[in-house]
């Protein structure tokens, strides 16, 4: 081991820590080699920003008199239904939730203009939202109806939670059919009209620690502009994926469950998105620091856009019908060039994630660490299928 988390935090405190972004170490390693770069750099910062449907926020409301028991009742925020199956004052709103009278895709393809994600963004933007609640009333919580205009500051607690986030590697989506399709990977034009990807490549958190040797349960992350934590592995986490010689998975695999204080976040890194024909969803910026505990950590953190490859998957038939087989693989560098080749055809590329925002996140996290405003945590447990570097 080159250094422990404790030693890194001591250097952060002393203002002596050396931090580089995941993009910066790509060229650093090319120039100086892994050995030297690993000795020089203590922490590598990553960043990703893109639609994360598996997002929601839960809130605890301040009671007024008489008190109301929301659990078991019905609650809406700006007309968007919130989940009220918890206790008297706890509600949850999911990014995909829509008002009952939203047409969804009845008017094809469907606009999804305002949903749960937009409620979360409005609250973060400092706007008031209208809470309407109906309850059954009990001896201790007698109120049966409650309406209030409330802002983020009016909640006792506001927590952003992602059951699944930071997907490690994702498909490149294409459409072989005769008509345009509207998917969670964006608008896909007929007959290989475009290829859409959703990743920040050489900046993507879980691609820079592909075997999850430093990222585990309890890892502190830069989340939505505030600080959050890895709560557990995310849903759909694949523990034992097939890997290439660099340790990168061959198909979508690891995921993280993230949790953080919504009140500390901002709209620069938390944005509502209306994905045409699909849903209302939340785009969230996440940056994860990777402690360079050994040379292997640096070698993997320095994997380049040329090294990272993705499977090309067909979305008009193969994906919806769960058919296996893909149309080959393509590297992040090829995707970023604006054109890839599929079946001998040149196909223009588009992205759902933002490399520009990913870079901004990695740079901001780098600065926070350098200024001793962000300290690293030592993960308390490994994610399923992984072994933490200090337990190897």
């Amino acid at each position: 081991m080159l250094r422990t988390i404790e030693q890194i935090n001591a250097k952060i405190k002393a203002g002596k820590v050396v931090v580089a972004t995941a993009e910066e170490v790509v060229s650093l390693v090319k120039e100086k080699g892994v050995k030297k770069a690993a000795r020089e750099v203590d922490v590598v910062t990553t960043g990703t920003f893109g639609p994360m449907c598996s997002s929601g926020a839960y809130f605890n409301i301040k009671q007024s008199t008489p008190k109301i028991k929301l659990g078991g009742g019905r609650v809406t925020l700006n007309n968007v239904p919130a989940y009220a199956g918890w206790a008297a004052a706890d509600i949850l709103i999911g990014a995909n939730a829509l008002p009952d009278d939203d047409p969804r895709n009845a008017v094809y393809p469907g606009l999804f203009k305002y949903g749960g994600a937009h409620v979360i963004e409005d609250l973060l933007a400092g706007k008031k939202v209208r809470l309407e609640a109906k309850a059954y009333g009990t001896d201790c919580y007698p109120r049966k109806e409650y309406t209030a205009e409330i802002g983020l500051e009016d909640f006792n607690n506001a927590v952003l939670f992602n059951p699944r986030n930071c997907y490690q590697l994702y498909n490149v989506a294409v459409n072989l059919s005769e008509r345009t399709i509207y998917t969670y990977m964006g608008v896909l034009k007929s007959r290989l009209g475009n290829a859409n990807y959703s990743t920040t490549g050489a900046l993507s958190p879980l691609l820079k620690d592909p075997e999850l040797r430093t990222i585990g349960i309890g890892t502190r992350v830069f989340m939505g502009g505030g600080q959050g934590y890895v709560a557990l592995s995310g849903t759909q986490h694949v523990a034992q994926p097939e890997r290439d010689p660099n340790g990168l998975p061959m198909a979508p695999s690891a995921t993280l469950a993230l949790i953080g204080d919504l009140k500390a976040m901002n709209t620069k890194y938390v944005r509502a998105a209306s994905v045409t024909g699909y849903t209302s969803t939340l785009s969230l910026g996440v940056g994860i620091p990777i402690p360079i505990v050994d040379e292997k950590a640096m070698q993997q953190a320095a994997l380049s856009d040329e090294d990272i490859t993705y499977p090309i998957v067909e979305y008009s038939e193969s994906y919806p019908l769960g058919r296996s087989g893909n149309l080959g693989r393509v590297s992040m560098a090829q995707l970023m060039s604006g054109r890839i080749e599929v079946d001998g055809k040149k196909v223009p590329t588009g992205c759902m994630a933002s490399r520009a925002k990913g870079r901004a996140l990695a740079l901001e996290l780098k600065q926070l660490i350098a200024e001793a405003q962000f300290f690293l945590t030592q993960a308390t447990a490994a994610l399923p299928g992984a072994t933490l570097a200090w337990e190897e």
């Binding site: 920003f49 893109g50 639609p51 393809p109 509207y182 964006g186 608008v187 034009k189 009209g193 475009n194 290829a195 859409n196 944005r271 998105a273 209306s274 994905v275 045409t276 024909g277 969803t281 785009s283 970023m336 604006g338 223009p348 590329t349 588009g350 992205c351 759902m352 994630a353 933002s354 490399r355 520009a356 925002k357 870079r359």
Partner: protein, 135 residues
């Protein structure tokens, strides 16, 4: 040869006027219609690219003005709103004229309105309301 991309707006009374015919026949212009909407009892709008000798183009614009047709440049018709944009670049492959592109260094979205033909193909691909048409 001069080239110009403009929008014609004509009132309901002029919808029947054979404007393109006159531009070709009288002013020897190449008229490339990129987009047109003409609704009954409503103003008509047409996005056109005109190519020809400069003096012919100037004369043609005089004719259009005299005929009561408003000629505008494309600048305000399609808007990219940087404050809303996250530079995801989902719109880029939708654009048939490369008016939307990615800066190779900053990876930020770039909108070149001079290349835009207001086809509006980009609008459904934007999840953040950063592209708006006023056509």
């Amino acid at each position: 040869m001069a080239k110009k991309k403009v929008i014609f707006s004509f009132p309901p009374a002029l919808v029947e006027e054979p404007i393109t015919y006159v531009l070709i026949k009288e002013y020897d212009l190449q008229v490339n219609i990129l987009r047109a909407t003409v609704r009954p009892r409503d103003r008509g709008r047409m996005v056109v690219e005109l190519k020809g000798k400069k003096e012919n183009l100037d004369k043609a614009f005089e004719y259009l003005e005299d005929a009561g047709i408003q000629v505008d440049t494309l600048v305000q018709e399609m808007r990219h709103i940087p404050e809303q944009c996250v530079s995801c670049t989902a719109c880029v492959p939708m654009c048939p004229t490369k008016a939307l592109s990615v800066d190779k260094t900053s990876r930020e979205l770039v909108f070149d309105h001079t290349k835009c033909i207001i086809c509006e193909a980009c609008i459904p691909s934007c999840s953040y309301g950063a592209l708006e048409s006023q056509f």
